[in-house]
């Protein structure tokens, strides 16, 4: 049988690429960058931060697009993490399936609310 591990691993075809492990790191990095951008924008504000200064941080179009991507990343990241938790402690299978479905509803609902806030800005 052909060797398919180590440096000889097949890197084409389905089931290769952005797996959960990598998705968790990519989404985390995006949220890290977002955190730093918001932090820098907050630190660049001179004087006390009121409503105008705070809302202004998120109001530019590129920031809205970035925030949208970060909300998607957050939901994806939280889904991978919570699914791992339920896979560890959610026994028996029926309980796990129920918890996973409730997690999805919770996360998708939160994402919808966050998008709604973002689009009103």
């Amino acid at each position: 049988m052909a060797v398919n591990h180590g440096s000889r691993r097949a890197v084409v075809g389905a089931h290769y690429g952005l797996g959960d492990w990598m998705a968790q790191r990519v989404t985390a990095t995006l949220m890290l960058v977002f955190t730093l951008i918001v932090l820098i924008k907050v630190l660049l504000v001179s004087g006390p931060i009121g409503y105008d200064q705070w809302a202004g941080i998120f109001s530019s179009q590129w920031m809205k697009v970035l925030t949208f991507a970060v909300i998607v990343a957050l939901i994806w990241h939280a889904w991978v993490g919570m699914r791992n938790v339920w896979m560890d402690y959610g026994k028996p299978m029926g309980v796990r399936l129920t918890l996973e479905v409730l997690t999805l509803i919770w996360l998708i609902g939160c994402a919808g609310w966050a998008f709604q806030v973002l689009w009103r800005l």
């Binding site: 955190t35 409503y51 939280a78 919570m82 997690t103 919770w106 939160c110 806030v117 800005l121």
Partner: protein, 143 residues
């Protein structure tokens, strides 16, 4: 069944109070446990975080409601309780973020020895608690 296989210890049905408390908990394991706990907490409080985001950016009036939650309380919760919950969120975010950066560092450095694992775990714990104290002092109006 032979005598040897009968006497083998069976690692099933671990008792939380009898067995789990005898486990050693190295710093790296503590960081790992807290990484999961902080993630779960942020997952459960996600609607509260979005509520804070909603109120803080939507309008001048809602910004006032956002500020009032920290000054006069929210619904049945007094202001100190809201601040305590936000403090828990601050710690959770910082710990989760720094522990995540630790993972990324260990991924790219290929440098995972026991010592590095222990050292980076200690840095994670100290840094997250220190930053939480700095931001927490601001939250409770100490400076």
């Amino acid at each position: 069944m032979s005598e040897a296989s009968k006497s083998r210890p069976e690692f099933r049905n671990l008792n939380l109070f009898r067995d789990v408390r005898t486990y050693r908990l190295p710093l790296a394991a503590l960081v790992s446990v807290l990484h999961r706990a902080s993630g779960a907490l942020m997952f459960l409080l996600l609607p509260f975080v979005i509520w804070l985001f909603d109120k803080s950016v939507s309008s001048e009036i809602s910004f006032g409601q956002f500020s009032a939650a920290f000054a006069a309380g929210l619904w049945i919760f007094p202001a100190w309780f809201i601040k305590l919950v936000v403090l828990a969120l601050i710690w959770s975010y910082l710990h989760h973020l720094i522990a995540g950066v630790r993972h990324l560092y260990l991924d790219v450095s290929h440098n995972y020895t026991k010592e590095v694992g222990r050292h980076t775990a200690a840095v994670t714990l100290v840094l997250s608690v220190l930053l939480t104290l700095v931001l927490g002092a601001k939250l409770f109006g100490l400076y």
